[in-house]
Symmetry: C2
Subunit: 311 residues, 2 copies
């Protein structure tokens, strides 16, 4: 079975690093990722440079990367202004990824809007993106739980998916923003979404998990069982959790690919190339990263016999 793997490290991971990652380095990492067989790469964000100085070089990154045919280059946009900036840049992304939160409190905290304000702006976001020849995907943060409110009602998620579909978005990402999802919940809720609003194509729905409580890859398996075929990860597990210093953020892309390939799925990703990119990340960011396979080797990386058995 074909699965589609996306990487968000350059945006979601580099964004929280304390030291600015040079534009040249970002471009190098993106260009390396472009040759690994990934489906989408989230390359930067059109947000306020004051709010997120780490991604102030969005235009430069988009201009400098070498685009590989077949790869979708995505830019995060928190609002209509972000879509307009993406539309106005010299080298536009293939897709803008808008974001709202299923939790009203998180929506206000993250993008300073009520649900009503966010949804009112959505049709214009879609219109501006499409008129500029860009696709637009919409993420739904805190789909599986909110760090402020806790439980998020399934009905709220279903209403957002309906609103996204009615607005004519090209793709929807259900995001477990702070790693609160568990496999049973993922399978149940995702199944409901897909039954009520069937996917027009294999990559329409993406699941975006965090490994904050160690359940990330278990949730991927649950998402496949529910029928989703597209998953986000972050190379080397780069990222974090704003609420818990030291906690893990996004699931690790190469750990996910290693698991999925072991399970017999076809990700089209070259795991060796992906690992080569991952192994450069600690030097770039100057600290350890959560990726497991980059330390342990792929599953079938075998070891020499102990000396006393070599007879």
């Amino acid at each position: 079975m074909r699965l589609y793997i996306n990487d968000v490290a350059v945006r979601d991971g580099f964004q929280i690093e304390k030291t600015f990652i040079p534009t040249k380095t970002k471009v190098e990492v993106i260009d390396q990722l472009s040759r690994t067989g990934l489906h989408k790469i989230e390359v930067t964000s059109f947000v306020s440079a004051k709010a997120v100085p780490a991604l102030a070089d969005a235009n430069e990154v988009l201009s400098a990367i070498e685009r590989v045919p077949g790869v979708l280059y995505v830019v995060l946009v928190p609002n209509i202004r972000g879509v307009q900036n993406a539309a106005a840049t010299a080298k536009k992304p293939d897709e803008v990824n808008g974001v709202m939160s299923a939790s009203e409190t998180h929506n206000r905290a993250n993008i300073n809007r009520t649900h009503e304000q966010s949804l009112a702006e959505l049709p214009t976001m879609v219109k501006v993106a499409h008129e500029a020849g860009m696709k637009i995907s919409m993420s739904l943060s805190t789909t599986f739980g909110c760090p402020f409110e806790g439980h998020v009602a399934e009905d709220v998620v279903l209403r957002f998916v309906e609103a996204y579909r009615n607005a004519g978005v090209d793709a929807i990402s259900l995001a477990d923003t702070t790693g609160m999802a568990n496999p049973r919940q993922v399978e149940d809720l995702t199944r409901k979404v897909l039954e009520r609003f069937p996917a027009p194509d294999e990559t329409f729905y993406t699941l975006h998990f965090h490994n904050t409580r160690g359940m990330g890859l278990a949730n991927v398996v649950a998402g496949i069982a529910a029928g989703v075929r597209s998953f986000d990860g972050s190379i080397s597990g780069l990222g974090g959790c704003p609420f818990a210093p030291g906690a893990t953020g996004n699931i690790c892309t190469e750990d996910m690919v290693n698991m999925l390939e072991d399970m017999g799925y076809d990700t089209r990703v070259d795991l060796a190339k992906l690992l080569a990119v991952a192994r450069n990340i600690p030097a770039i960011v100057g600290h350890e990263v959560p990726g497991q396979v980059m330390k342990a080797g792929v599953t079938m990386h075998l070891h020499d016999l102990p000396e006393y058995l070599r007879t």
Copy 2:
């Protein structure tokens, strides 16, 4: 659904620490774990003190711990000598856990015996254990893959399970010794084992996973789907992988319990107490540990609103 959770940190985790963990500390950790609702605690090992100096205090540990009714105290034994030592100690464990490897090479590397030698010794191990009033469980290392040989044939695993059953063991643990199992494989192979050799009771089969490549909790979910109800973990994720410095070893007990309780399973484990034990471990061993929930908090640990939203 009731699940049974076992902890192996004091044996499997402390055993690879470079500095000797004082007997008093081991006893304190075991006594704390005894009050968390765990089913089994693996407290030490009767192995050569030369081979594993970290556990040279097996007799002292067994004498000093305070045993809580309902908890099974387990000691690892690599061979008949280990069973005899356990039988001869002043305060015997409830259960000895013997170990063989599905891979012939790993069996020789780990316990210096061929498969034939190991299996020939098994009936005597069972006899000595039972005559001493101890239960005996048998682990099968490298059930899901061998770091030297790679793929392990399912037939070999099934033959070992048959031999274990024929020898009259009280429990069987299928162990993913170096984290090579994937969820599909776990579900398939475990289902075959349970179909061919049905469990006489809920705790007869245990699955022992490592998180070496990040798949540990996904494998637990797969094992439950296949019908297993008992799982090993290591508090705070203590442990490691002898083949990959920096790689993770055993899955983290409290991360597993957090996931299972979120999924609605009944582990009977007091997660808050378990976390309190886990949070002491870094100070005991003097380094960081892989546990995620101890850093992020349990799933429903909510956070204060950002200041600008507190109006």
